[in-house]
């Protein structure tokens, strides 16, 4: 006989509550990941803008920008290039500014004398007084921060070192040129470097597409120092060659080890000085796994590991980082990508058969 009921039983009520609880439990992480998805989309849009800026630059000059230009001291024999100090010095992002609607910034920048571009310069919103900017004040680069910064990327916002007077305190940038296998250091006799990506010694065969001797050789990626490549130099195919990518500045171990080991006050954020025109502030390399981090202060003091960290692409997006390829597309590459494949994607003319994995 059927039982007549005019109300819920306790068990039925508990079951309903349990179901609601489970659904909310499913929903809350989804809300969080939706926030991160939004940040990632904004970040990929920034990369897309910068990739298109590269293409527009190429349309105008028939070449990509300099990965980094540094004519300090050597002078190149032309009076305009200067003969001393930091005369003419800038990196990739500076040259892209007119193509991301920052022409005013570009025009205000003193391209011939780097040292004139201080934070206190009124042209950049400074007040004439040299001081460390706080978040929200106008400073060099800060006006541009939206297109230069990935919203997921936490970590220190400003370069704090290099000059105690504040000359050269700049807002951080998150997007870097791909120099191929190695971006940093520029040239070292004993370590793999930008000009000698496969390591020291001149008895090694030059990389495919490389020019000159070991001392004057160039990076094997789309960007190098004091030289402009074009799309025609992407012999591996523009769809198979990385143009730019992200760097992660969140690195508590790195930030702790400098002061702890007493060798330096440097922090990861100090490598975000994208206007400076130095290898470590302009280039990243694909010879290092995505999201590579040092694990201990002993590794901080190990030149190869330290170099690896400075060369590493990375992000705080879960499981990998975003890259702009030379064809202008933006792709997420997992940190579990085979290092051999990743390495091949970095070189512009390595002759490898490789494409971005799905």
């Amino acid at each position: 006989m059927k039982r007549q009921s005019k109300a819920f039983t306790l068990v039925e009520l508990l079951v309903v509550i349990a179901i609601i609880g489970i659904l909310v439990g499913l929903l809350l992480p989804a809300v969080q990941s939706a926030r991160e998805a939004a940040r990632r989309m904004q970040c990929s849009n920034n990369l897309k803008q910068l990739a298109l800026a590269n293409h527009n630059f190429h349309d105008v000059y028939k070449k990509l920008p300099f990965g980094m230009l540094r004519a300090d001291g050597t002078g190149w024999g032309h009076p305009e290039w200067g003969t001393t100090g930091q005369a003419r010095r800038y990196a990739l992002l500076h040259q892209l500014m007119p193509y991301v609607e920052q022409t005013a910034f570009y025009n205000a920048w003193d391209q011939l004398v780097y040292n004139n571009n201080t934070i206190s310069n009124r042209l950049f919103g400074g007040d004439g007084v040299t001081s460390l900017p706080t978040n929200g004040t106008a400073a060099v680069g800060q006006l541009l921060s939206n297109v230069l910064r990935c919203p997921s990327n936490v970590g220190s916002l400003y370069n704090e070192s290099h000059s105690p007077t504040g000359n050269g305190v700049y807002a951080r940038g998150d997007y870097y040129a791909c120099a191929g296998q190695r971006g940093y250091p520029g040239f070292q006799a004993t370590r793999a470097s930008l000009w000698n990506p496969f390591g020291p010694g001149n008895d090694h065969p030059r990389p495919a597409g490389g020019r000159g001797t070991a001392a004057t050789g160039r990076a094997n990626g789309m960007f190098s120092r004091n030289i402009q490549f074009g799309f025609r130099d992407a012999m591996d195919g523009t769809s198979n060659t990385i143009l730019m990518g992200e760097r992660s500045f969140s690195d508590p171990v790195f930030d702790r080890c400098g002061p702890e080991t007493g060798t330096t006050t440097t922090k990861m954020g100090n490598w975000g000085w994208i206007w400076f025109g130095a290898e470590g502030n302009a280039f990243l390399g694909t010879g290092v796994p995505i999201n590579f981090r040092i694990r201990s202060c002993a590794e901080f003091l190990d030149p190869l590991r330290y170099d690896d960290r400075i060369n590493a692409f990375g992000s705080l997006h879960v499981g990998g980082a975003q890259f702009a390829l030379t064809d202008g597309s933006v792709r997420f590459i997992s940190e579990s990508i085979d290092l051999l494949t990743f390495n091949a994607l970095g070189s512009r003319a390595g002759g490898e058969v490789a494409s971005v994995p799905e």
């Binding site: 079951v15 489970i22 070192s161 290099h162 296998q181 250091p185 070292q188 006799a189 004993t190 370590r191 793999a192 990506p197 496969f198 390591g199 020291p200 010694g201 008895d203 090694h204 400098g258 060798t263 330096t264 006050t265 440097t266 100090n270 490598w271 470590g280 796994p289 999201n291 590579f292 981090r293 694990r295 003091l301 190990d302 030149p303 190869l304 330290y306 170099d307 579990s336 085979d338 290092l339 051999l340 390495n343 091949a344 490898e352």
Partner: protein
């Protein structure tokens, strides 16, 4: 009447089970690097697999190395074929970092003791097969710098 809840319990059990996750299985890898029969210290040994993460180790005074996966705390290397890169860190052992964060080169003309053909993993002549489920030992007799 209990039948009403059986389906519900089954769903709960499925949800709990789907949360399981398996760690990558690594094989233990050790070895010795020698040059002219003598053990070589301060050589960074890098194993680049065809799939998966890189493993790294550094030789001690007896030339012995033990591999560890790059940015995790697991020891060993992923099973499969690896290209092996060797880099000599001896010339840069006295280097230090200045306050700008840049490395200061104190190599004073010291040059790598081993042949540069080992530096670049994709082009390295050394290729090994790491086998799962047992300790792997690889001894590398390297050529001197030319």
């Amino acid at each position: 009447m209990n039948k009403r809840y059986v389906g519900f319990i089954v769903i709960l059990a499925l949800m709990a089970a789907s949360g399981c996750d398996e760690k990558t299985k690594l094989a233990e890898v050790t070895g010795v690097v020698t040059l002219d029969g003598k053990p070589l210290e301060l050589i960074q040994v890098e194993f680049w697999p065809t799939t998966g993460p890189r493993s790294i180790g550094k030789t001690d005074t007896e030339g012995k190395f033990t591999l560890e996966i790059d940015d995790r705390t697991q020891k060993g290397a992923i099973p499969g074929t690896h290209k092996v890169a060797l880099r000599d860190t001896w010339p840069s052992k006295d280097d230090y970092i200045n306050d700008g964060g840049e490395w200061v080169d104190k190599s004073n003309g010291k040059k790598s003791r081993i042949h540069s053909k080992y530096y670049d993993a994709p082009l390295s002549p050394l290729s090994v097969e790491v086998v799962a489920g047992k300790p792997n030992t690889f001894d590398f007799k390297v050529d001197p710098r030319k």
